[in-house]
Symmetry: C2
Subunit: 198 residues, 2 copies
Amino acid sequence: MEITAELVKELRDRTGIGMMECKKALKETNGDLEQAIQVLRKKGYARAKDKMHRETREGVIGSYIHLNGKIGVLVEVNCESDFVARNDEFAELVKNVAMHIAASDPQYISKDDIPEDVLAGEKEIIREQLKDSSKPAEIIEKIVEGKLGKFYQEVCLLNQPYIREDKTTVEQYIASFIAKFKENIQISRFARYELGKS
Amino acid sequence: MEITAELVKELRDRTGIGMMECKKALKETNGDLEQAIQVLRKKGYARAKDKMHRETREGVIGSYIHLNGKIGVLVEVNCESDFVARNDEFAELVKNVAMHIAASDPQYISKDDIPEDVLAGEKEIIREQLKDSSKPAEIIEKIVEGKLGKFYQEVCLLNQPYIREDKTTVEQYIASFIAKFKENIQISRFARYELGKS
């Protein structure tokens, strides 16, 4: 398949990544735009990592109201400069994160936010399920790790599959904006209200 | 001043209270619409009191974003029926309460929500301020009561003067909707985020 200039441009626009890398990713995926985005997301994520410790004092507080007010979300997304905070694409990111929270009901931002007793309780449940297994201890530990990973995917916002691109985690989705804006971006807090459930 | 049918109608529309009572309130205030609203609010509040214990399982979660996302509010306002929850005026009430929270930064919903240690600390501060006073103990107690009342007005949503009508408390403002809809209405929770302050 031919890699047209239009296709490269679209990929650049969507990822903010340089032309040569976009072209390379499209060749790698035979011109499949969505797959090329995945390839670049992973690369972008690797590159974004070194920005993830940088201080974020600016940002936007966004909200999303679902089903005529049956579910509501408030979220604070931070970045480094007011310039990025006022960018339309940043506003879209905030909206999408709020919408994601409404749909996926995370309990924590990252796994570091899970209280120790909750984590211990979860490990206890997993070990209980495996207690009659005759597998060797190191295999059991691997299974526990795997099941914990699934638990993180369920309850931690950053580990959840992003609702609009289920092969991308929310963390990877945010990392793609870090790569694009060349600024650290962090979710510092969120509240999710569901009518009558507190 | 003549009490015109138009004036009575406007008062009815704004308060939801019967024609005769609106006419009476307008006569009492010489046709001053805003004062008549105050008069009816007080009566409405008295009448709303007996509905204030009724269970509220329906409602709306609303949000308000201020200053391009520098302040954000999420609030759950409950009522008794989905019919009222879907009413446009109820939606307006929710929006106004969210806007009020953004502007007035309450810490609690009602004074019952103030933690005991916070209240004890506040009383301590007030008594400290009065310790060199030569006034009799019962007068001191009255002053403490008065200062506590001011503290409630500062930190409790329901006791705050409603931003759009500063002679009305938020509780009275809500009571006017209880009188109008003939259903209990309650604020069950809110979150207010200010950029960078957590």
